[in-house]
Amino acid sequence: MDRDTLLENMKTAVIEGNKQQAEELARKAVEQKEDLLDMIENGFVPGIQKVGDMWEKGDYFLPELIASAEAMKAAMNILQPEMEKIGVKARSTGRVVIGTVEGDIHDIGKSLVSSLLSANGFDVIDLGADVKLTLFIEKAEEVKADLICLSSLLTTTMLGQKRLLNMLSEKNIRDKYKILVGGAPVTRQWSENIGADGYAENAMSAVVEAKKLVDRKG
């Protein structure tokens, strides 16, 4: 298969959420000794970008987004180890530490955000649910994160988001990270009140918002 057909098919596989196809194409690219970074950036990534556009236009809903994210991840799982072998690293959109704030076990929403971020090229460290505030900070420091994403489904744990921001300020490291907050009871107003950097209502807008924040961080 020539390069252009390969790239076109990769894009289509991600748009259609066809995991097997995405995996096969990734394997083919490896077999053909293609430039794998080229394959990612000009094949799979335009696919996931198109999916984002279709979602914004209202043509795609959550399940399609998820199927596409699965296809994207499946391809990356094949390409990444091959690239590591030759010392090439896929360009990361940004490094994210994400979790559901302590005292809260609602986490399927957070997992969706985390999956879509990673499908869109972010390096994601997902700490799970009921995560201690100090752990968010320790992890972010350890991996030199760009972004900390906090999910709260309970009004009680929304206060944890505020406390985390205070803790960062007390440690004089508030400026090192962009803070993105979300979860059903969280609103833009709340995020502004507590001095977070961004808020998103759902998983795909979380990706859009996260990209903006990382760009702004520079």
Binding site: E70, N77, G103, I105, I108, D130, T156
Partner: protein, 218 residues
């Protein structure tokens, strides 16, 4: 069975086999019941609704449809529905306004056990996101259905005792703060069905619900 803790024993039986009702009657003690053997049927429409869809959207041969088929097949073997109820006299409550005018109060903790959420986690790890989303939705719907069935049993009991029953109401909903879980767990021996409370009042397994129903004079 000797040393196996009680809650483990319940989990070792497939749902539906143990239809036993355990009763404990002691003077001046709340009446406690452990109930298992529920028959949980999932309404696909409700699961669809949870992820932002309507039933007409569930077209055959789509990944979403396939995920529903999968979850339908899988969930019965992953859930072990069980409940504990505790019937309090008015003077045994903690005087919170949520109990005002009640002659008796039934407290209930119910769960579908830990297995479904482990399966969901495995899917997330294996990059099977749509499966994880839909199976999680089935789990949430299953425990909601379970809570509804428990509430119906309790209301029937209220009626048989000559009382009128209130709707079910859970700690964490507006007028009854989450901290009140401490009171519920003080009165309901939820460890009998393997449910524990974290120091920040979340229940483990996650797919658990707690609530109260007031009994009023009819």
């Amino acid at each position: 069975m000797g040393s196996i803790p009680f809650h483990r024993r319940i989990y070792e039986y497939p749902a539906g086999i143990r239809k036993n009702v355990f009763r404990q009657k002691k003077a001046n003690m709340p009446r406690i019941k452990v109930i298992s053997g529920f028959d949980i049927k999932i309404d696909r429409k409700k699961v669809l609704y949870r992820i932002g869809y309507k039933s007409k959207d569930l077209q055959k041969k789509t990944p979403l449809f396939e995920s529903f088929e999968y979850a339908d097949r899988r969930f019965p073997s992953l859930i072990y529905p069980a409940a504990v109820t505790s019937l309090l006299e008015a003077h045994e409550t903690n005087g919170h306004p949520i109990f005002t005018d009640a002659k008796k109060v039934a407290l209930c903790v119910c769960t579908i056990g830990p297995n479904l959420e482990s399966a969901v986690e495995t899917h997330v790890k294996n990059n099977e996101l749509l499966y994880s989303l839909v199976l999680d939705g089935f789990g949430s719907e299953a425990v909601e259905t379970l809570a509804r069935q428990c509430a119906a049993k309790i209301s029937k009991e209220a009626e048989s005792l000559g009382y009128r029953s209130s709707k079910r109401f859970s700690p964490g909903y507006k007028k009854w703060p989450l901290e009140q879980q401490a009171f519920v767990f003080e009165k309901v021996p939820a460890n009998r069905i393997g449910v524990h409370l974290t120091p920040r009042f979340m229940m483990i397994p996650r797919k658990s619900i707690s609530f109260r129903i007031n009994f009023y004079d009819s």
